[in-house]
Subunit: 233 residues, 2 copies
Amino acid sequence: MTTFEQSFEEFSSRYLTDGAEPEFRRKVACLARLAEVSRDQNLLVDDHIEQFVYICDGSTKLVAHASHSRDQIVAFHFAGDVVSIPARLHHSYSICALRDATLLSFPGERFLDIARENAGVIGRLFAASSTSLLRCREKTVTLGRKSASERIASFLLAMAERIGTPVERGISLDLPMSRRDIADSLGLTIETVSRQLTLLREQSLIETVGRSGILLLDPNRLEDCAGYLSAAA
Amino acid sequence: MTTFEQSFEEFSSRYLTDGAEPEFRRKVACLARLAEVSRDQNLLVDDHIEQFVYICDGSTKLVAHASHSRDQIVAFHFAGDVVSIPARLHHSYSICALRDATLLSFPGERFLDIARENAGVIGRLFAASSTSLLRCREKTVTLGRKSASERIASFLLAMAERIGTPVERGISLDLPMSRRDIADSLGLTIETVSRQLTLLREQSLIETVGRSGILLLDPNRLEDCAGYLSAAA
DNA sequence: CGTGGAGTTGAGGTGGGTCAACTCGAGTGG
DNA sequence: CCACTCGAGTTGACCCACCTCAACTCCACG
């Protein structure tokens, strides 16, 4: 069990430094709500307004819901990240835990009103937003123009960058998300994801260990499969 | 012809208010570079670093280039918008004018270093980034999970919101982008775009006038075709 | 009025979806 | 510690939405 104080202190040290006046921190703390969310559970928040969520621990997916119960995973997030959950509009968004997660949530407008008082704080939120935007744009390219095999290769490389650990034989991944999550993130079906992983295994580009382990044996060759733009202008 | 002073003044009034000390504005002005970009031309900037671009006039597309000269349009932007162009990474990004455009560009890091001095200014950039992020997320859903007809409907409605003008018979659009641009934005081919527009015409949902005019005859019914989530939770 | 690129329409092919059967492995309880 | 179980993952056969290629038409220019 995590206490509110621990979690808020952690958030504070990452995002509120130099807005350090006690009064400022107290105002932010008043808005924060701690939630322990277990595997596969949604974070319950008011979806009429935008929310900000700090991931103290665990890993999450940001899911957009379209008609006919089609889900699209918009982003994965890990400990230390700040995510914004858009207010319900054409689609409805929710944060769902991939593995048990500890989250701090903030109501959007009220949080921003305070954050805007301090240039350092709003600057750090801007940086987080920029990172999310960059990842989302890269995903747009992947979803709009790439084949199934390129999507899988891009996905594995992106995860390697974020949660991979280098080992002797390559890069080791312990994926918190299921095949369904991967499919919902890449705009594919679980069957296609499975088939593409099999192909990569047959090419000796990866090894799979159990359900969540993947070993990237040759990241460089995998990049050639990802549809990235090569060095030319 | 537009003068630098005019353009910068316009940008300033939208994004630099309350960072109004002359010294601050002068520092920002030093970084700004005015560019007149004609139809179908790229804005030429150093793609090794992130750039920010203010659209004084005209309309633009942000294009990502993947391997095998596949292009994905990541976003369209219109007068008054601020866009960030990511530094070249896995893909290369560029801003291209749909119609003759007047742009102010700023080198990313140096611009942000100054913007961060003023909470109001960086806050306004945060808001612009948030809007871009929201649009990009919605596009992710469209590209990941929607059929060709839903993509077209979503596109038309999104454009109606941004550049549509209400008329007696519905909403009138004067699209600055070609069928190819629409296709590259929606992850389709020009042929598919054309066929879907024909279908909508046959259903009396739209009328097309010339190459760039589209009249949305029944926006409500079009929303039903867009794959949006209906009112239920 | 003529020209050429943009847009449309048609015919046929294919990558990935769908449906169904099967296998595996992580967790449970004996 | 092992057998059982059930959902997750894999594999196969078939199908369809969209892509590809090609011919044609139509604006928007000069």
